[in-house]
Symmetry: C2
Subunit: 300 residues, 2 copies
Amino acid sequence: MIANIIAKRIAIIGVGLIGGSLARALKSVHAVTTVVGYGRDENNLKKAVQLGVIDKYSLNIVDVVTDADIVVLATPLSTADKLFAEMSNALKKTVIVTDVGSAKGSIVKSARENLGDLFKRFVPGHPIAGKEESGVEASCAELFDAHRVILTPVAETDPEALNLITEMWKLTGAEVLNLDVENHDTILAATSHLPHMLAYALVDCLSRMQESDSIFEFAAGGFADFTRIASSHPRMWHDICFSNREQLLNVMNQFDQHLNKIRAAIKDNDSDALLELFERAKTSRDNFTDQRKNRNDSPE
Amino acid sequence: MIANIIAKRIAIIGVGLIGGSLARALKSVHAVTTVVGYGRDENNLKKAVQLGVIDKYSLNIVDVVTDADIVVLATPLSTADKLFAEMSNALKKTVIVTDVGSAKGSIVKSARENLGDLFKRFVPGHPIAGKEESGVEASCAELFDAHRVILTPVAETDPEALNLITEMWKLTGAEVLNLDVENHDTILAATSHLPHMLAYALVDCLSRMQESDSIFEFAAGGFADFTRIASSHPRMWHDICFSNREQLLNVMNQFDQHLNKIRAAIKDNDSDALLELFERAKTSRDNFTDQRKNRNDSPE
């Protein structure tokens, strides 16, 4: 398949797992002519060139974004203010800027404050894809295939920019959906950010127990599945926590109440309450599995 | 391979996922001559016969265990007192009794109280294997292959009985290890029982949120992995909670402290503390992955 060229020059700000995989995916369908990378670690950028992920790079963000048709911010969320501010004056008027952050409220605020008139050309995005490993070596062209990408346009967002970023993600094989910013952040706090906190807390807890050696020695596949996300990138997750602070604290409190219900039922020998809660949870989880199966089966 | 016959007649008390898979595995290597099933649900037992999992069944436990060389208790833990008491007088003197329960302290107590002189012929066991589905339809001969089985013999346990049950599990492809009862229950509380509580609490929490429809709609693969265990058998897990009550409450309290550390760091904007905790957890999780990989690579 020969895809339409969607950008002559695309700038990838942060060439890691996500930025690298997007570059690979777009190159694999010839949707971009030149991919230019920006980062702070020159060795990483050199590796990205060697791997064919990007065509060239610079450590100067102004050089990288000048003349870029699309700029993709793919760095940890806490860097957004600084990077938007640094690139702002070098962007051309027709540029489209997007990002891949896991929380949208903070980055929209940052773009609004730093991009000036070009804020309307900013399309907030979040590909729901990833893996245990991070870094450009882990990147692959298929990462987004059959995964979802959520875009969270705001009132000012230029429809033309939104359309192009939608097209860009579709070329990676992703299904693209729109949500409003607040909805996105509530949903992701519940389904992704909270589970990461639980996995980090569990692994930290177990590694601190007196019996930690035999605990990890005897842990089996279920435990491996459950804690896989605790191997995620610490800096990225640190930034997500502070970027989605209120929503995350809110769901953590709600989770506490439910865990306390279980604890109370065990403590009080309340057999009926415990069984009812497990049965209710199993029903919800089984429904989720069925929905997911139907979704994957249907030609979307 | 023609295995030695380890039992002419084996009684499977509770023909579900685990009991059924053990029967299938032993039949597949011709290690048993006759498998007799016991259960309360005749339709399930009929299905087990149709599927070739067992050779015959009775709804009368005395009929099933009489003349059995090996009796495997594979029902939820809360049924142990009743079933041990019912079978006790019908067991032959040379019988070996074992079980597959996920908590060992309570079942050892129950066997001690109900099996009389034959307590020395009881070998407490716990295969670390399972899947999302339960019931005899989900059983398969390969369930234990390359998995671990932990046996927790006590001072009184007859070494000959321990040897035979060790052999039995090896025939299923499992690696057999011994732990003492208390160690087992501490380790399993941490690596299995606690994660199940977290998964049940998370799914219950999310299903009760106002946005629950879109939450489950947008949940992705990581969430699916994380909550898979919330689809486990509610009655079985209810029983495990009460059977391993003290140890479970203890690790739940420890977990709380670690989750609260994360919450406090987010609330107090304590960037260093949060990053340090995530980095520490990632290191532990990565070490666990490496150990697991080495274990699976080594010819055990």
